[in-house]
């Protein structure tokens, strides 16, 4: 990589580590964008117009449960697939 020219080995390693950390952060952000979109659609499907910028306690519960059940679902699928082998 041309950009690495002029950096010594130690600095190159540091930079590589930094880039790896940043890309796992980017991956996590991608998951959160997807999940926010999904839970927004689940929890506000019945809401015809937005009357408040903040979350009511039932909306807050819905969003949190949505995240929890999403993670449960993905674990359950992995477990079920393992049993099928």
């Amino acid at each position: 990589m041309d950009a690495m020219d002029g950096f010594d080995n130690k600095t190159q390693q540091e930079l590589q580590q930094f880039v790896e950390n940043e890309s796992s952060k980017a991956k996590l952000n991608g998951i959160i964008h997807d999940l926010t979109d999904r839970c927004w659609k689940k929890c506000f499907a019945q809401t015809s117009s937005i009357s408040s910028g903040s979350l009511s306690s039932s909306e807050n519960t819905c969003v949190k449960d949505c995240v929890g059940r999403w993670v449960d679902t993905s674990y359950l699928i992995v477990k079920s697939l393992e049993k099928m082998r």
Partner: protein, 99 residues
């Protein structure tokens, strides 16, 4: 990767030491990341708040449409933050159980 060249190669402000070049490169990468993240969020808000607030597009934006969009924007960001902290909390719990 052209974006790195200006920093490592130095056609912008002259950077003296390798340490400074490293820091500048890291800052640039982190900045690019946060811009990409903000763009993704704005695109999602646009999509979801348009669907929610403008079910039947009229000849112009009404004040109630505008108020809906403004509140929707605020609400979507709140949901993003809730999802983020809830997801991270759960993943950390799972990791601790696994160890």
């Amino acid at each position: 990767m052209d974006m790195f060249k200006g920093i490592a190669g130095g056609n912008s402000a002259p950077v003296s030491s390798q340490e400074e070049k490293k820091k500048a490169l890291m800052e640039r990468i982190a900045q690019e990341q946060s811009i990409a993240n903000a763009r993704a969020l704005v695109a999602k808000i646009n999509e979801n708040c348009f669907d929610k607030c403008i079910p039947k597009p009229g000849s112009k934006m009404s004040s109630s449409d505008e108020s809906c969009v403004t509140k929707c924007l605020e609400k979507y960001m709140t949901v993003w933050n809730t999802v983020s902290s809830e997801y991270i909390k759960r993943i950390q719990t799972e990791r601790n159980n696994f160890q």
